[in-house]
Amino acid sequence: MHLEVFSEGSSPIHRLDPRVKIIVFTIFSILCATSTGLKTPFLYLSYSICLILLARVKLRPFLSRLFLANFFILFIWIFIPLFYSGNTHYSIGPLKISKEGVMYALSITLKCNGIIIATIALLSTSTVFSLAHALSHLKVPIKLITIFFLFYRYITVIHLEYLKIKRAVLTRGFIARTNLHTYRTFAYIMAGLLIKSYERAEEIYRAMLCRGFKGYFPLFEHFKIRKSDIIFFIVANSISIYFWI
């Protein structure tokens, strides 16, 4: 499973300190999510597009992500213009469409895409492990980070186990349909996965105990903050706050 599609690259954004990126992203997303109207969300969206251009991510996976993320938004476009209580209406046959409703849906769309593009530009350009490492510097409980680290590490392993079971099931002529047999089969696959993960976790814990585990992993590599990180930190946050005001 190749999960970190956007983390490879050598753009200026890729080279930034993940701690800086997390803080910049957090401020950006909170301010963008709480902005109202059309103008401010539009400014944030333009800003995030500038960031993604700086990050030079692969275009095709980027567009497909954006497309998928807009499904929920599509849902909103179907309903809000019809149910929003506003004064002005356009009538199409029996349907009444409120102008404010359309504005509201548009505002949501701008904000949603702004934050998603910023997520890809700022967070997905770091590897998951370096983000976890950065979070440990940002005072996130070490127990949560240790769980996250092992969780992420073993997804690929458990996924391989799943593929193995799936292959075995398919060779026995299983076809998924809407019936009890199908659901029972999926349940047994899931239960099998849980048992395998349970046994794997016991092995991991014994191995960790052998290596003197005391509730956290000591860090081997450390981040170094550079001048460019500080400049980006100041400039990026100023822009986010300026738009909000």
Partner: protein, 203 residues
């Protein structure tokens, strides 16, 4: 079942974040050092489960199994579901970072409720375990859809129709999740009951 970025209002987002923060704090307190790998790797299994698509009539849905997470992990469901949603937000941009609080609470709280309501039934006979699994698996998803609906309506009244649709869509999924959870519980009970009682059996 994720609310995307940019939809919810600030008060709703903050309320969700605070509640999730409390839930994670209780969850982490319940996880001893010896439980860390089990919570982590079981979470990996649930993450893989969310990649499995199950046919429902002409459509299909991916497994959620938040009821099973809750009934197995108890309050540790909060950190478990939180890290799954965090990873999905960072890697696939499903759900979102600002909505992480609301989405985590909406899925993990029903899981914890079902833990207290139905877990005891697992330890009894096969039929009770089957029933408990079904009720826990389906109810947790229905309550989760309700929570999502409340978050939407709290943000804006006009989202009522969206909330209603979310709930309606999740009813058949809840039924299937219930059936699958019930079979998982019975299978585990028969093959490896330690998994249902993972906290007592750590070495």
């Amino acid at each position: 079942m994720h609310i995307s970025e940019g939809v919810l209002s600030a008060p709703t987002l903050i309320a969700g974040a605070v509640l999730t923060f409390i839930g994670i704090a209780i969850g982490l307190r319940n996880i001893g050092n010896d439980h860390i790998p089990k919570v982590a790797v079981l979470s990996s299994a649930f993450f893989v489960a969310s990649l499995i698509h199950v046919p429902i009539g002409p459509s299909s849905a991916h497994l959620v199994l938040n009821g099973l997470v809750g009934m197995l992990l108890g309050w540790a469901a909060f950190p478990s579901i939180f890290i799954s949603l965090l990873l999905q937000a960072v890697l696939f941009q499903f759900g979102g970072i600002t909505t992480l609080g609301v989405n985590t609470f909406a899925m993990a709280m029903p899981a914890v409720i079902c833990h207290y309501l139905f877990r005891k039934m697992f330890l009894r006979g096969k039929n009770l375990a089957l029933l408990g699994g079904f009720l826990g698996g389906s109810l947790s998803l229905i309550i989760a859809a309700l929570f999502i609906g409340i978050a939407l309506v709290e943000t804006d009244k006009s989202l009522f129709a969206v909330a209603g649709t979310v709930l309606a869509v999740h009813l058949p999924i809840a039924l299937v999740e219930g059936v699958i959870t019930a079979f998982v519980v019975v299978y585990l009970k028969k093959v490896k009951p330690e998994v249902l009682n993972w906290k007592k059996n750590s070495d």
